[in-house]
Symmetry: C2
Subunit: 432 residues, 2 copies
């Protein structure tokens, strides 16, 4: 093992065992250096979904840059005999030196969209499969669900508060994906640090129960953070809670939160009560098992903001995006699995999206990269260069760019494409 | 900010913003020091499930030990004005100094089971809510799904291979939870390092496509790792693939893997073909979108092992366990939310499980800790001490202990409790 020193967090063992077994065999028989193209795509969208949202690209690129085998990693692989010394030696010098092109974060995708194309030797590209898919499948699942919620909320802000319902690190990535998809803020402090996402939060029921009375709890909160805060009014009786809240905070009270019950009915009653108490500018925040359908159903109610937890961090019924990482080209020759199930299309591909002159999307065109079709005035190429010779290309989109991209993308969909009910993909994918 | 130096990975920002807002208010009004008991429980099991499996306890205890605010954490909270300087100063010295009791990993749980009881001041206990729930909700969801699969597999080994379908760090925890629940091995190399779980893996379709012929791919693999390996035979034509596999490896071939199609029918045909080729000891591994129902349906087929991915890492339809962390006691006085929805039971609680003399479980008895019922010969107390004055109690169960615990727990269930179809919890929960 070469004594290469790596610092920082390595992503190299976030990898399936078989990637290294394949690597060992390919190094031994001389095929490891063959020039290969792997493609990430989804065979289909989750049942009934009309579009997917690409999330996690920036995290993927970072993970590839951090994909180095530390001495500790190599010692582990040696001790457990995962690979032999020759393969360990090769891994000790690992650095991805190939090219990556793909869809930017916030871009819509459809069945067969070539979301990411990784070109390199078999050896250097195959070992990235697991971590690339882990990130894209998770983050895209969350972004896709969150986009439906943002769309259903029609401009009302959504607070992401699902950290407690998912793995502690997945929670940070989920907060990022939800923000990408239009959520306004998150409860997750680490997401605030890591990605600069605005964090928010005021109080839970435990804070009310800690105090001898609801009034004492409200007073403690107001004394500390001022009247422009959100008071949680449903610990005991909501009507009493609202009356106490306005008495303690005055009509300058920022907001109340209702976290249980039939929140639509309760919001209407609360609005009337707040108005009658002179708290006409006090906002109403609702939370508690909301998903995109519940949000849509509340459209006509006097709700000012939504808090969403479980449904967004679990992808609202589709917790993984089902993307795969398939070898499509070897030494310039298209390859594809040919058995009757799970067949795939060989060859390196790119994509463009055709639109009407009005801007409405018409179709996703997936084509052989070597034979691009003519680009019409209303067409948009979807692949951008992301990595060249192992280095990240400069000027890749930021998280805020991704938010903008998605907003424009949703506006471009045919109107049926934004329906929450189950249906076909919003636009067809054409392979040329 | 006190210049406390912390090393290692801090879990302190894996926390919802509101925990710190509440902390700030409670420090200001003097309630922060009140002696509190928080309880983790699930109001219900996921729809139709008959039992849950506790997973993640060891990870929770480690996360609590690592819950220290580093200078970088404090600088972030200062820069984003999450809390004021007084609160920051308090956080800089944070160390949990209370007591924790609970269910061991691998223990079954039911609606209302007091899975974890955290006792400390409000301040020190409230801030742990998010990370405790993240870990328990994730790991218990995976362990609960995996236990159904292990039970359906009736002793045949299951390989966990779902890393690519979930967040890259959730994948490591999922591999651990699946192993806890009886899976034999995992594909995830980091789970091998972190938890000592045996890892396995041989080859993907890309390895077949990399080579000019299937025969060349098989030969490369056999030459490298010997005939006692698993050859993936469904890249082109399965019958041809099996014929080639046995020709290349000889009848000593360890196993074949079939990853697509109607795996039951294909396994039967493959068994006949292998036998006719003299490869009577060559095992058959099947994979590809298997869940507990598919595993059960394959019981009569000549399958030797299962590879399970998506369904186990996503909790097979229930990706989160829905556990909550509720304040149940303040200064020795029971407290509970009293509004009409999401009501909860106040007071510090413990639990025991009653059994018939034959060992079959009868009921989960949840009782006030201060008033334990008489313990019969066939009853078992479910709470064990885990943390005292902030230090982990010695001799807590290992991951292998948890596997044994779960195995015994499943045997103790009434027979309907192991049915995969939807139904009520296997035993009732009685509150005394």
């Amino acid at each position: 093992m070469a004594p290469v020193e790596h610092t920082g967090t390595s992503t190299a063992l976030l990898t399936d065992h078989y990637e290294l077994t394949m690597l060992g065999s390919a190094l031994a028989d001389g095929t490891a250096d063959r020039d290969c193209v792997f493609e990430v795509f989804a065979r289909r969208l989750p049942s009934g979904r009309r579009y997917g949202v690409v999330g996690g690209i920036a995290r993927v690129l970072d993970a590839i840059m951090d994909f180095r085998f530390t001495d500790a990693d190599l010692a582990q692989l040696h001790a457990t005999a995962v690979v032999d010394d020759g393969t360990l030696n090769w891994l000790s010098g690992y650095r991805f030196s190939g090219d990556i092109d793909g869809y930017v974060e916030g871009e819509l995708y459809f069945p067969g969209s070539p979301i990411l194309t990784v070109r390199g030797t078999f050896a250097e590209a195959v070992v990235l499969e697991t971590v690339v898919l882990s990130i894209l499948n998770h983050d895209s699942a969350i972004a896709s669900a969150a986009a439906r919620m943002s769309s259903a909320a029609h401009g009302r802000p959504i607070i992401e508060m699902g950290s407690r319902r998912t793995h502690e690190q997945a929670a940070v990535a989920a907060a990022r994906a939800a923000y990408l998809a239009g959520f306004a803020t998150t409860s997750n402090l680490e997401a605030g640090r890591r990605y600069g996402i605005p964090t928010r939060g005021t109080a839970a029921h435990s804070f009310m129960l800690l105090h001898d009375t609801e009034e004492a709890a409200f007073r403690a909160q107001i004394d500390k953070v001022g009247a422009d805060t959100t008071l949680l009014v449903d610990t005991y009786d909501i009507t009493d809670g609202i009356e106490t809240a306005v008495r303690v905070a005055g009509p300058e009270l920022g907001a109340i939160r209702i976290d249980s019950g039939d929140v639509g009915v309760l919001a209407r009653k609360a609005r009337e009560q707040l108005d009658s108490l002179g708290a006409k500018d006090t906002r109403i925040v609702v939370s508690g098992d909301l998903d995109e359908h519940a949000i849509a159903a509340l459209r006509a109610e006097p709700v000012d903001a939504y808090g969403v937890g479980t449904s967004v961090v679990t992808g609202s019924g589709a917790p993984t995006a089902g993307m795969v990482y398939k070898l499509v080209e070897v030494e310039g020759r298209p390859v594809a699995k040919r058995s009757e199930h799970k067949a795939s299309r060989g060859g390196r591909k790119s994509a463009l999206r055709r639109h009407k002159p009005t801007g409405t999307a018409l179709e996703e065109v997936v084509y052989a990269s070597a034979a691009p079709p003519a680009l019409g005035d209303d067409d948009r190429e979807l692949h951008i260069p992301m990595v060249r010779d192992g280095d990240q290309v400069g000027g890749l989109p930021t998280l805020d760019d991704a938010r903008q991209r998605l907003r424009r993308g949703l506006v471009s969909l045919p109107w049926e494409g934004l329906k929450l009910s189950g249906g076909d993909p919003a636009i067809p994918t054409t392979f040329t």
